[in-house]
């Protein structure tokens, strides 16, 4: 298990966002988390690299305790994260965005980092954008650059927090293709998404969350054709009929 969360609880003040969540993810698995907004799926994802602190329970990442670990930065090096709003650094070029962390953390020499960054940019189709500032990119390009930036650190796990939700519809595809490609290469991926088609095609497992609980945790076939709980059926009906 590369990710193991046991009985975790998370509150924002009086509001209980995660109520007793347990979750295991194997190496190379692609897991999509779906559910209505406010169900706690983004919060759960953010707990997995401790962008949110949990109030109870335990999380183990790549064999190391996450919750009380003093060397959180060392763990985070192995977990790439992609955000809904990209969060590229606007004062740095695409290439500089990518090499900042590996060079600062002395994981690679600057030369090696640039070489790797160029390979990754080539993979995501942004090689010609290496020296531009993020402002000049479209949403889809920004998100592909953000994925490349996360991959530059050679992560063992990738977390995606609604990576296509802030994109214009015609740009969703180009980002999903990059993610599909990554999944095919065997990356362990946890993806919070509203793209049901993507979840059905790419995920090994789909998790349905509602009101701070995991209600379903099964193969996409099972969940999309014959969900066990009523709440999940209702949700899928609404979402898929809109698509």
């Amino acid at each position: 298990m590369v990710i193991k969360a046991i009985n975790i609880k998370k509150n924002f003040g009086d509001l209980e966002v995660l109520k007793d969540i347990s979750l295991e993810i194997r190496e190379g698995e692609v897991v999509c988390i779906i559910g209505p907004s406010g169900s706690g799926k983004s919060t759960l994802l953010r707990c997995l690299n401790r962008l949110e602190e949990i109030q109870a329970g335990n999380i183990n990442i790549l064999g190391k305790d996450l919750v009380k670990n003093k060397k959180i930065d060392n763990i985070r090096e192995n977990i790439g994260m992609v955000f809904q709003h990209f969060n590229l650094f606007p004062h740095l070029t695409v290439l500089e965005n990518m090499i900042l962390a590996p060079v600062e953390l002395k994981k690679m020499s600057k030369g090696d980092a640039i070489k790797k960054a160029e390979e990754l940019l080539d993979q995501v189709g942004l090689f010609d954008k290496r020296d531009v500032y993020p402002d000049t990119l479209s949403g889809g390009q920004k998100q592909r650059a953000a994925i490349a930036r996360a991959l530059e650190m050679n992560p063992k796990i990738m977390l995606f927090d609604e990576p296509t939700s802030a994109l214009d519809p015609e740009m969703v595809g180009e980002v999903l293709i990059v993610m599909k490609d990554l999944a095919a290469k065997g990356m362990t991926m946890v993806i919070v998404t509203h793209e049901m088609g993507f979840a059905r095609d790419v995920a090994d497992r789909v998790i349905f969350m509602d009101q701070g609980y995991i209600l379903e945790n099964d193969t996409p076939e099972k969940i999309f054709t014959n969900p066990a709980c009523e709440r999940c059926r209702e949700f899928l009906n609404k979402v898929i009929n809109c698509e």
Partner: protein
């Protein structure tokens, strides 16, 4: 013509006044920047005691006039420490403390103005809090802060004139002394005003040059 005569007749006096004003400003502003960064970080530290100290400092300075602060330090506190204290040093202390408080607000606001997603992205890559500040947040925050910092510089330069009350012979005090000799307040204070104006115009030009340099290459987000 008369302005020019008055200027030439009192040149040594005016120049020495300007020099004192510039010295006061530069030393105080340097100290203020250091105090500002320090207390700005205190405010953001999430450590209750530090936050409390920084907030009290800000409220005390903001809630009292600089003239009272200067009088309090020079006539009130300084004699308790040394019998014959130097007004210049007391002036620098008053001005630094004053500008430092406002500066801490500028730094705090500048750092908070950078989207929190930037911090999250940087931390998620494994960069430490300090590296994140240094490489990601501050480069963006400084751009946001610069107009406010320049504005505070200008305010502080003008505030040096208040320090005449603790008998510092800066530019305004020089003017008063000249007027006491020549009984020509209109022309003399006119000359003094022009001197301040020139000083601040030079600073403004310099700062807009710096701002342009910083924004070159890409948009400011």
């Amino acid at each position: 013509m008369r302005l020019y005569t008055i200027f030439m007749d009192n040149l040594p006096s005016i120049l020495s006044g300007i020099m004192v004003t510039i010295k006061l400003s530069i030393i105080s502003l340097l100290m203020a920047v250091i105090l500002g960064i320090l207390f700005g970080i205190f405010r953001l530290s999430k450590i209750r005691i530090l936050e409390g100290i920084a907030a009290s400092y800000l409220y005390i300075i903001r809630g009292t006039p600089l003239m009272v602060q200067a009088l309090f330090i020079y006539f009130g506190i300084a004699p308790l420490i040394i019998p014959r204290s130097d007004p210049f040093i007391c002036g620098v202390i008053a001005l630094s403390l004053n500008a430092g408080a406002y500066m801490s607000e500028i730094f705090r606001a500048g750092i908070l103005a950078v989207d929190f997603g930037q911090t999250e992205a940087s931390r998620s890559l494994g960069l430490s809090y300090l590296k994140t500040m240094q490489k990601v947040i501050l480069p963006q925050a400084i751009k946001i802060m610069i107009p406010s910092i320049i504005n505070q510089f200008i305010v502080t330069i003008k505030d040096t004139s208040i320090l005449t009350v603790i008998s510092i012979r800066e530019l305004t005090a020089s003017g008063q002394i000249i007027v006491a000799r020549n009984f020509r307040p209109l022309e003399t204070y006119g000359v003094i005003a022009v001197m301040y104006f020139l000083l601040i115009t030079v600073l403004s030009l310099l700062s807009s040059y710096v701002e342009r340099r910083l924004h070159r290459g890409h948009k400011s987000n």
